[in-house]
């Protein structure tokens, strides 16, 4: 108790030893909001800001004593400690459970590229829609009921025999999440992000797409507000197919430009 009393008098200004990172500032602001909303007490808020997981130090130690991962190699950042402290407090108060967090992670990462496939299939079958898609990607996606409220701009780019687009974000992992869900790990990897802007043909070849020399390659670096959707070439032998059948050929990678859409034969082999 006496110790807690002492801490009350610590100046909040004493928290940052150096300029806090963007994430640390976010975590501190979140802790402040949770205090304002009456979820956390003043003490709890302060402990989150410091990254002190008071009530769970023992549990944490135990957890890692039995953990096969060698935690000594990893020094936790202040932000990571803040998140652990906040997560544990919210769990302790019964606001969120560990299971709920796990399910939410699954939900976030399980969003299928289905929405994007529908947009591409519609563009393949409806020339007027295709025109609208290239004029205003957001409006065209919304036409099919996709929630685009978090997007600033969506540009569709078309792959043809003459021009092949492949999308990357060299700065981070910008991705048309509203249409394709969470980006796959390879898209976020340093390997892909650094190499595709240097030798795109080779990277695409490694991913199974061998482009003829006559095809111009355009690497689209998603550096700012714009998100890109690649409309792959419609495979041959799909004349008269329904929109739904066609959507089944439009893979996530084809909408990033790292592969073509599936051929009817490839699709059939996958079903077997």
């Amino acid at each position: 108790m006496a110790k807690e009393k002492q801490e009350e008098n610590v100046e909040p200004a004493a928290i940052p030893a150096e300029e806090p990172s963007y994430f640390e500032r976010r975590a501190r602001a979140t802790a402040d909001l949770l205090k304002e909303k009456g979820v956390l007490s003043a003490d709890e808020t302060r402990s989150v800001k410091h990254g002190h997981d008071h009530s769970h130090d023992d549990v944490f130690e135990q957890l890692h004593a039995n953990n096969p991962i060698d935690t000594t190699e990893h020094e936790y950042t202040l932000f990571e400690k803040q998140m652990l402290a906040m997560g544990n407090l919210l769990r302790e108060k019964g606001i969120i459970s560990t299971d709920e967090v796990r399910r939410k992670i699954d939900e976030n990462e399980g969003v299928s590229p289905h929405q994007g496939s529908r947009v591409v299939a519609r563009a393949w079958t409806d020339p007027d829609y295709k025109k609208r898609l290239f004029e205003d990607g957001i409006a065209a996606a919304e036409e099919l009921g996709v929630d685009m409220s978090t997007a600033n701009q969506l540009i569709a780019v078309e792959n043809t025999d003459d021009v092949h687009h492949v999308v990357v974000c060299t700065l981070c992992s910008c991705y048309p999440r509203q249409l394709l869900g969470q980006p796959p790990d390879w898209y976020k990897s340093t390997n892909y992000r650094t190499r595709v802007v240097v030798d795109p043909r080779r990277v695409l070849k490694e991913m199974g797409l061998d482009l003829p020399e006559s095809t111009e390659v355009r690497v689209v670096d998603s550096t700012a507000e714009t998100r890109y959707l690649v409309v792959p070439r419609r495979p041959e032998g799909t004349e008269g197919w329904s929109e739904e059948q066609l959507a089944g050929l439009v893979t996530r990678n084809s909408m990033v430009g790292c592969s073509n859409a599936l051929t009817p034969m490839q699709k059939e082999m996958m079903a077997d």
């Binding site: 060299t170 802007v197 095809t215 390659v217 670096d221 700012a224």
Partner: protein, 96 residues
């Protein structure tokens, strides 16, 4: 909002070195020449937003096409025609 550049203009990305967040001009394109391919529009400036400002005035954004062989001029050029398209804000461009 008036745009300083139009499609077809040749521009150079400023070579200024920077520290900090949300500078949307990648280092590998700094000091490189490109051609304005398209005008993307005006958006709240991420360089201001990331420091807690309101992002105003809005900044003009362009799609700039770079010849990959010129971007990596110290490497052997890969076969065929290879371009890099990147979105660059107007304050990062100078006329050529």
């Amino acid at each position: 909002m008036s745009f300083r550049y139009k499609p077809g203009d040749t521009v150079r990305v400023l070579e200024t070195l920077t520290l900090g967040h949300h500078i949307r001009s990648p280092q590998y394109l700094r000091g490189k020449d490109g051609v304005v391919a398209d005008i993307r529009g005006s958006f709240k400036d991420p360089e201001l937003l990331s420091f807690g400002k309101d992002g105003l005035p809005k900044a003009n954004l362009y799609s700039i096409a770079f010849d990959l062989a010129h971007v990596w001029d110290d490497r052997p050029a890969p076969e065929g025609v290879n371009k890099i398209y990147a979105d660059i804000f107007e304050q990062w461009l100078e006329p050529r």
